[in-house]
Amino acid sequence: MIDFAVEFSGVTKRYKHFTLDCIDLKLPTGCILGLVGANGAGKSTTLRILMGLVHQDAGTVEVLGHTMPDQQALAKLEIGFLSEDMRLYGAPTLEWHMNFMRSIYPHWDGAYANSLLGRFDLKAKQRIKGMSHGQRVKAALLLALARRPQLLVLDEPTTGLDPIARREVLGELMAVLADEERTVLFSSHNTLDVEQISDQITFIDRGRIVESADKEAFLDRWRRLRLVLPPNTRLPGLPGVVAIGGSSRLPVVTTNRFEPAVVSACTERGVAVQSVDVMTLEEIFIASVESRREGGAL
């Protein structure tokens, strides 16, 4: 078993108006990684380079032990890919697509495909062009899942789905991980999904990796502190301060290196700590990106 399903090392890609700059990424086998970024941050480019659809200008990419883009045909045999701008052929039926897949992929699991039809509430004999957006996404996902890939690469898998479809999709993604040799990499700007199911989280903004850590570490380290400063007192220096909001008497401090000692450090200096708030992944992402864009060092 390979240690890392995906390894990016110093990957760079230059476009006219955008540069993907020195991307390092290591995704261990059996893990699920959520790539979070705003639109245009570079998520899709990163995934395309991963699939060998775009050649990087610099850096190395290894996927399932294969060098990309040179060995992409071999790698793609074990990868299930779904992207937001991907469409299936409109005129044929889902069944036609399934048979097409079956003829290509040796690991195609027909029984699993049929059970997915039921779970996703899809009809095999329906033409793709007659399906709603959500059904098409699920159809494409079915085609990717039923080939039992070692690696699932998904670009915005739940975007535009209703809550039921979303839950179905997330459920199937997690089911893939029941086998600890399978890996999932998905990009999303839906932080709720990422927060729920990811083991590892990576933030990307304006072509650069901003932060990368396991989910629990993220949620543990980031806190929002609401303080009450007595008159004529300055805010004590605290570790890892990313942003300070609120007013001068009632500051709200966002920190990415929280420990309980921080609270005692405040109370010792007469600063009352009104509350220590856990932050959602969305709040963490926004704070992280905003501070970085304003040039703050983390």
Binding site: R48, M51, L53, V54, H55, Q72, A73, L74, K76, L77, I79, F81, S83, D85, M86, R87, L88, Y89, G90, A91, P92, F100, S103, I104, Y105, A140
Partner: protein, 225 residues
């Protein structure tokens, strides 16, 4: 090169375009049958020829444009997520498109030649001219295919297709000016000349060159999406 995958991709394109292929085939053969039964009436012959050529080029362009269609309908990411390299994709597109065209083209050519040889009222001297013009059409189609695959742009492909169709006329007139060709057209027997051979060789060489250039350009591409 994964031949099996290339074959599957070609089959896929054939399947998706099966209606167009069938209609063109039938339309062409019906027209030819009408021309053959006209017993050499020039007008019918010329009209028939125009119809056939139009069908060939029109349908040819449509199929060739499958490369353009993939990008337009955004099925390209789906195809490229399959276990293929870009070289295999290009091969499938070019070979697949040309194969469809060649089938029809061969049927047409055989049909025309048979009509000239067997049906009454057609001077056999037409044959060299017909052969050269047919290969000319083939060359034009190769050009459209090359443009479709390398640019993936509908604008360019349609533009080149139209230019190709129009220039067919001019090329036709230009070739007829060669005394060895034009003069021989009305004769009852086939008169194959050195000029004819030269023209034919040039056309075939041009086709080979076009395809080579196409593969070369595709191999150099860094962004497929």
């Amino acid at each position: 090169m994964n031949i099996a995958m290339v074959k599957r991709l070609i089959w896929k394109d054939w399947y998706l375009n099966r209606a167009a292929i069938l209609f063109s085939l039938i339309g062409g053969m019906v027209t030819l049958a009408l021309v053959a039964s006209s017993h050499g009436s020039n007008i019918v012959m010329i009209l028939g020829l125009i119809v056939i050529v139009t069908i060939l080029i029109g349908m040819g362009s449509m199929v060739m444009a499958s490369a353009v269609t993939e990008r337009k309908q955004q099925t390209l990411p789906f195809v490229m997520s399959l276990p293929i390299s870009y070289v295999e994709y290009t091969t499938a597109k070019i070979v697949g498109s040309l194969l469809i065209f060649l089938v029809l083209w061969t049927v047409m050519l055989v049909d025309i030649l048979a009509t000239i040889l067997l049906a009454p009222g057609f001077p056999h001297g037409l044959i060299p001219f017909v052969v050269i013009m047919s290969v000319e059409i083939l060359m034009s189609t190769c050009l459209v295919t090359a443009v479709a695959v390398t640019t993936e742009s509908q604008g360019w492909t349609v533009g080149v297709a139209q230019v190709g169709a129009l220039s067919l006329n001019w090329i036709g007139w230009w070739i007829v000016r060669f005394p060895d060709i034009g003069g021989a057209m009305r004769s009852a027997t086939v008169r194959w000349s050195g000029t004819a051979t030269a023209l034919l060789s040039t056309e075939l060489a041009a086709i080979a060159l076009l395809l080579a250039i196409t593969f070369f350009i595709q191999a150099r591409k860094k962004d497929f999406i």
